[in-house]
């Protein structure tokens, strides 16, 4: 077996998405916001279709719809006209402008265009936040975080700290996760700004009407107060340099607490402990109980899964968290792969699993599904854990796929998958165990109905 990552020129079945898609999703989690792509029409339409297939919710992403001519002479006029049209039609509170490969390549200076635009327009225009997101540099996660940083940079104000107020920068989590995390924060009596928040905008109720802009998202008023919070909790162990959390710390002196994505008991404990310290309250009994039941189930089921081998793939921070979770339940992660290239993946996995795993898994960045598939052959995994795009591999290897994260395109309810905290871990754990049992049952020639 090769211990080295394959090093191909071409990419087959990428394990990443493009940068502006992440930015659009982040902008979608802000009150009254419309995401806007400065580029050609195709990119926006493709991203909408991709996002819709996961959330089963409408998402309007406006575009400058640049034609070849515009691209040659510069996209300024189209950008300005587009902003006017979006404003007129949607009356947004905020327009989140992300660039694309095209406008980055032609060197459009969006900052300057916006400056001119503000000078040229009379009357009130929405807030404009811009972020530079060429896809030839990074993945959708870099786009996501860059958009969050841009929002904070532009909208968070400083001032005297408000006691009991914190910020939570959870990264790209599911609507279900967000709702659960909000409940947890409430239980601690913490007043938190969670940025972004797509729990209503991308998982809304049936209302028999079409909202131009869905209600929900992080309120602008609360984003403004982020510089006055007493602390920021930021999820993600592979984040780079100028994160929104780092910015709040440098610019406004808000203490940054950097945690992993809380999946599994170890990582969740850190999260709950942090909340306890920040709120000055003990961990509420109901969560202690929930943790207790989780441990109880770990014990009940440990034998069924012990020593099973798993391949984990997807966004880097999610991979780190899932790997830590698998390690703590006795499953052996054999390959951890991501299309991202933070340069921090292996170290983050070692940090979180070093005391449990006798041997570190193979960890590779910049992977695509061809690479993963090729390595998988000799690793003989028992299960896969990641998003829908690993399905062809799970089919080929005839092993179960535990669907997590984004995109979920071959099952319903991707937006309702709970991953975080004790409750999310319980849900994932039951899935892992039951997938293993189901396999054992269907592979058996006897077919017991009592396992």
């Amino acid at each position: 077996m090769s211990k080295n990552p394959p090093n191909y020129i071409s990419t087959t079945n990428a394990c990443k998405l493009c940068t502006p898609l992440g930015a659009c999703l982040a902008f979608k989690g802000i009150e009254g916001a419309v995401p806007y792509l400065h580029g050609s029409q195709g990119c926006a339409t493709y991203m909408r279709r991709y996002i819709i297939s996961h959330y089963n919710e409408p998402i309007d992403i406006a575009s400058s719809s640049l034609s070849e001519k515009n691209a040659i002479y510069g996209g300024g006029p189209n950008l300005k006209m587009g902003l006017v049209n979006v404003t007129q039609k949607y009356q947004p509170k905020l327009i989140g402008i992300a660039t694309t490969c095209l406008t980055e390549t032609i060197g459009d200076d969006v900052g300057r265009y916006l400056h001119e635009f503000h000078r040229e327009t009379v009357g009130t225009m929405p807030i404009m936040v811009r972020v530079s997101t060429p896809s030839y540099n990074g993945t959708h996660m870099e786009g996501f975080h860059a958009a969050v940083t841009a929002v904070v940079e532009q909208l968070a104000e400083g001032g005297e700290a408000v006691q009991g107020k914190i910020n939570l920068l959870p990264g790209f989590i599911s609507p279900a996760d967000k709702r659960y995390v909000s409940d947890i924060l409430d239980d601690f009596g913490l007043d938190a700004t969670i940025l972004p928040d797509i729990s209503d905008t991308m998982d809304g109720p049936a209302t028999s009407k079409y909202d131009k802009i869905q209600p929900g998202g992080t309120p602008l008023a609360s984003i403004a107060t982020m510089g006055r919070a007493s602390a920021t909790i930021e999820f993600g162990r592979t984040l780079h340099g100028k994160t929104a959390g780092a910015l709040l710390e440098q610019k406004h002196g808000v203490k940054r607490i950097s945690l992993g994505v809380p999946i599994g008991i170890e990582e969740s404990d850190l999260f709950f402990a942090s909340l306890s310290m920040l709120s000055g309250r003990p961990i509420p009994e109901k969560h202690v109980q929930e943790r207790g039941r989780l441990v109880d189930s770990y014990i009940d089921c440990h034998k069924y899964i012990f020593g099973k081998k798993a391949i984990v793939y997807g966004e880097e921070d999610l991979v780190v968290a899932l790997t830590a979770f698998l390690a703590e339940i006795g499953v052996v992660p054999v390959l951890c792969a991501s299309g991202g290239k933070s340069g921090k993946l292996a170290a983050a996995i070692k940090d979180t699993t070093g005391d449990i795993l006798a041997e570190q898994p193979l960890v590779f960045e910049g992977m695509d599904f061809f690479d993963i598939s090729e390595m998988a052959e000799s690793l003989a995994p028992d299960l896969l854990i990641g998003h829908s795009k690993g399905y062809p591999l799970s089919r080929k290897l005839e092993i179960p796929l535990i669907r997590v994260g984004f995109p979920i395109h071959d099952r319903m309810g991707g937006q309702r998958i709970l991953h975080l905290g004790y409750r999310g871990t319980q849900a994932l754990f039951d899935q892992v165990v039951n997938a293993t049992l189901a396999r054992k049952q269907s592979d058996s020639s006897v077919g017991y109905s009592y396992m």
């Binding site: 998405l17 409408p58 049209n85 540099n137 049936a206």
Partner: protein, 460 residues
């Protein structure tokens, strides 16, 4: 009704309310959320089903990854088309040019998969950085001995239509290179069917029952070798004018292959298509076989449609599809179900097509080009529509409004063409319109929940 953006007014028409005028093939308005895609998307749709070709997208990752295995185009053999190949251009490539990377990627992938040919798609930024695709393709073609064809599909060069043209030009380079020996005088190419959910297999079977030889599927379940000898066919049978009509024109000019336009959607159009082909060949025996075939199929399908017709009569339908040609068949198909079409629109129809649509639809029907979500919403509400036919991007709009939905796009996994397809279509419409779930969508407010029944139960 939702006010239209001023610049959009000339792209909407109401049948019978004013003399027909509609402006189309216009660039989408900046800032209006168009449902349209790009040139690349158009090319990709047309060429995608060619299953033994390598489809390499030269550009940054997004363009390739968003088109990975999303279409329901089936293959009876190789499945190379279902993989998403990209050069995944990085900053360095954008600065210094991506030709070398493209060359090496092509060599690597051809060695790995031994495809029968390769299509190399250009994307927006390739158009800007100025890579010479033509030269790289020529070089690889010489080295590897298979056709390596550049597709001029830079996204910003227009809309999907331009992409269809680029795809046709690419295929035209392969056509004419193969041996045409042994092709029957009663032979056709099937153009413009993409074998979604196995549709082309059904269509082929009809033609074979008529005694017609199918030379090339263009492009559903397509093969490079079939394309190469497609010029030997006696007739091009073209569905969906938008996507492959250009190729039929080229073949008419270069190889004198005549063409007819057909549609396989709805039983009338399906039967008419078969008759048109039989009449073209003018063979009495074939005509007889066709009659028999149609009779058999109708005898099987029509009685089964009855149940759907009874349930669906009078319900209102709206159509919003990619190309307007399909819209004609859908209007007929809904008529057959006794349903009323109240809105028809498409992303890329031509003025002529919209004019004809205006002629065949009832007064008051809304005809729209390149609609955006807000417009669609206002039309669905205004007309109190029961079901919308469209693609994935339209689905959540319908559902949010409590309106049924039928997927009639390239992503669908149900066969809707042919005689059987009409039945499947009726079933699809029926299963959405008749579902009991809509009753809950109407009661969403607290005040709706405390009903007379609940009051009686609680108060006794």
């Amino acid at each position: 009704m939702e006010a239209l953006l001023e610049d959009r007014q000339e792209q909407v028409h109401r049948t019978g309310e004013q003399p027909f005028t509609l402006v189309c093939n216009k660039d989408s308005l900046a800032g209006a959320v168009s449902q349209r895609a790009c040139v690349f998307c158009g090319s990709r749709v047309v060429l995608y089903p060619i299953a033994d070709a390598l489809h390499l997208v030269h550009g940054p990752i997004g363009c390739a990854v968003y088109t990975w295995d999303i279409r329901g185009a089936l293959s009876s053999g190789p499945e190379l088309h279902r993989l998403s190949f990209s050069t995944d251009l990085q900053e360095r490539d954008v600065i210094f040019g991506g030709e070398e990377k493209l060359y090496r990627a092509l060599i690597e992938l051809i060695d790995r998969h031994s495809p029968k040919g390769a299509f190399v798609y250009s994307t927006c930024i390739v158009g800007i950085i100025g890579d010479d695709l033509e030269a790289v393709c020529r070089r690889v073609e010489a080295e590897k001995g298979i056709p390596v064809i550049p597709v001029q599909s830079e996204g910003f060069k227009g809309n999907k239509r331009a992409g269809y043209t680029a795809a046709c030009n690419a295929m035209a380079r392969i056509i004419g290179t193969g041996d045409t020996a042994g092709i029957s005088p009663y032979s056709i190419n099937i153009l413009g069917d993409f074998n979604l959910a196995g549709e082309i297999w059904m269509i082929r079977e009809y033609f074979e029952r008529m005694g017609v030889q199918v030379v090339a599927n263009i492009t559903g379940d397509g093969r490079i070798a079939d394309l190469a000898r497609a010029h030997g066919a006696a007739l091009n049978v073209v569905q969906c004018s938008g996507s492959t009509m250009d190729l039929a024109k080229i073949m008419e000019e270069r190889y004198r292959v005549p063409s007819i336009r057909v549609s396989y959607f709805g039983i009338e159009d399906m039967a008419q298509s078969l008759y048109d082909v039989a009449e073209h060949f003018g063979d009495p025996e074939m005509l007889e076989k066709t009659r028999k075939l149609v009779k058999e199929e109708l005898a099987r399908v029509v009685p089964q449609l009855q149940k759907y017709r009874e349930a669906l009569a009078g319900k209102k339908a709206a159509i919003y599809v990619g190309g307007s040609f399909k819209a004609f068949s859908l209007v007929n198909a809904f008529r057959l179900l006794d349903m009323q079409v109240v809105m028809v629109g498409s992303q890329t129809g031509t003025e002529q097509e919209y004019r004809e649509l205006a002629e065949i639809t009832d007064p008051g029907t809304i005809i729209v080009d390149d609609a955006n979500p807000l417009e669609l919403t206002s039309f669905l509400e205004e007309k109190e529509v029961d079901i919308l036919v469209g693609g994935v991007k339209e689905r959540p709009i319908a559902y949010k409004l409590g309106v049924g939905f039928c997927d009639h796009n390239h992503e669908r996994k149900e066969a809707l063409a042919g005689f059987q397809g009409m039945l499947n279509f009726a079933e699809e419409v029926y299963s959405s319109v008749m579902s009991p779930v809509w009753r809950f969508a109407m009661r969403t407010k607290d005040k709706d929940l405390v009903t007379e029944t609940s009051k009686t139960i609680v108060k006794g």
